[in-house]
Subunit: 337 residues, 2 copies
Amino acid sequence: MDVTRSEFDIIEQLFASLTLGDPRALGLKDDAAVLGLPEGREMVVTSDCLVAGVHFRPQDPPESIARKALRVNFSDLAGMGATPTGAFLAAAFPRDVCDDWLEAFALGLKEDIELFDAPLLGGDTVATPGPLTLTVTALGTVAKGRALRRSGAKAGDVIFVSGSLGDSAIGLKILSEEISLTNEKHKTYLSGRYLRPEPRTQFGAALSELDGVGGGMDVSDGLVQDLGHICAASGLGARVELDRLPLSAAAQSVLEVSPDLIDIVLTGGDDYELLFTVREDAARTATDLAKSLGLRLTPIGVIEAGQGVRVLRPDGGQWKAARTGYRHFDGAQESGD
Amino acid sequence: MDVTRSEFDIIEQLFASLTLGDPRALGLKDDAAVLGLPEGREMVVTSDCLVAGVHFRPQDPPESIARKALRVNFSDLAGMGATPTGAFLAAAFPRDVCDDWLEAFALGLKEDIELFDAPLLGGDTVATPGPLTLTVTALGTVAKGRALRRSGAKAGDVIFVSGSLGDSAIGLKILSEEISLTNEKHKTYLSGRYLRPEPRTQFGAALSELDGVGGGMDVSDGLVQDLGHICAASGLGARVELDRLPLSAAAQSVLEVSPDLIDIVLTGGDDYELLFTVREDAARTATDLAKSLGLRLTPIGVIEAGQGVRVLRPDGGQWKAARTGYRHFDGAQESGD
């Protein structure tokens, strides 16, 4: 069943209610949104593009695709310590997208827009001869001067990561049937982590108010590559202990059977956990903060002089991988170290 | 020649200088930009998506594609009366994009970023198996409460349009060799209007300060369709005189040979001129304002009770066309009236 709606119908019938009546959206009837900024706050803006077949599988449930497009952007905001306040969606839909699909997609958007209290403020709806391509621009705010930056790490800082790593990359392998798993609960958990990441917005916002927090970001391209960005921006190196990496029970059970998959825990990406460094004397406060939000928080290593990320195995040897993390252009694939 | 750069190289080598050193961009090293808002101003945000083969021709010069992606967004800002202050680019490049193309593309971006003084503040660079897809999110500011809206038209308002209409739609027909033209100057002018629209940012900003301006927007989908949006948002109708439509000398010469092309003047879109309504007693001020900026401004009709757009031919009959303007999803194509 092809789409029977024009883009104007799609906007009016499916997207207009996603503004939650927010006056900044002007009812999606104008070409732009008009917004202010509360006293003492700065605006944080991020824009991420997701392509079917690259960032999600075309056959993923439309609700999940919608929610993921929002969530990866909210995760960027969380990585900067900002609280989401709104989103723009520029959607290029394949011309043969059907009404049922669009309705389910809009429903997924709505769930998360309400959950994160970040109304749809505008965007664009176009047709494409190519794959579904979604660009969300998310707006957030943070107290003036308190945004977390990649460049703030100091030598001696403890490196923390929230939640658990590798679930999503393993979940994708399960969904694409590269790995088979008999434990249904683990299967559901891991694929759910791929389909519907959990941006750590509350924890990110709380971290921005904490003194002693250095380099911070969300892990989207894989731990080693993203920690490498913090190192490069801060002009320092990092040492990570392989056996400290936080794993879910489900990922642990997969790794017991396929220990080589530790590589995708380090480089697979799509984790959307918070990665940040903290001055040693503030580490306890960060831990308590995470605890108060019911969030797992794990110290995985330290920032040190030098450059690059060293991952140490329990035997003292250094982990080496074929790549450091996700790269879009293969011609430029580099080996990790 | 394939791309030899990773997305990180593309960002660092080609895009980082496009921030023009603006501190809000954080050197494109973080996942988001951090920005404030001057006292007494509101932020205006728009996000437009351009797809190769839909919004531009894949073979168009990369500089033009880059500039068009920025300019259609700056035109949306102009339509709201806002002055551009920055842009985000989420680019999905085909995996086989070559370095030369990317360099020319970045050069085009740079020219306009400098021209409009709207630094690149962030974005995303990904690979796509489909056509080049560019989403620009443009930020602008306007004095508090002065943004132009589609909903502000009043019965009796004069309808104005800036510049000339139809050039771009005719220019596309020339580029795709549907029309042949011997006059080289006209050919260059018309195709240039397609390749490099002129967003009326200065005039839009000036209009926002003028009392008596009602409904306003930029013409991107065709005059009849866009004026229809102003009518619908304002709960009124519009009467347009066909022989008042502003035409360039080049378009005029084409219409003399092919008078039927008047349809694409009314519905072709891609004009990026400003369309707005003004209280009759303020019409002279608007005209003087345009004159002071060296911009052609033409009264083309009036807002009246009722609904929809009526276009009257010189003989008093009503113009009818197969469609009112550009629509992305053909299943929903409606006839104009």
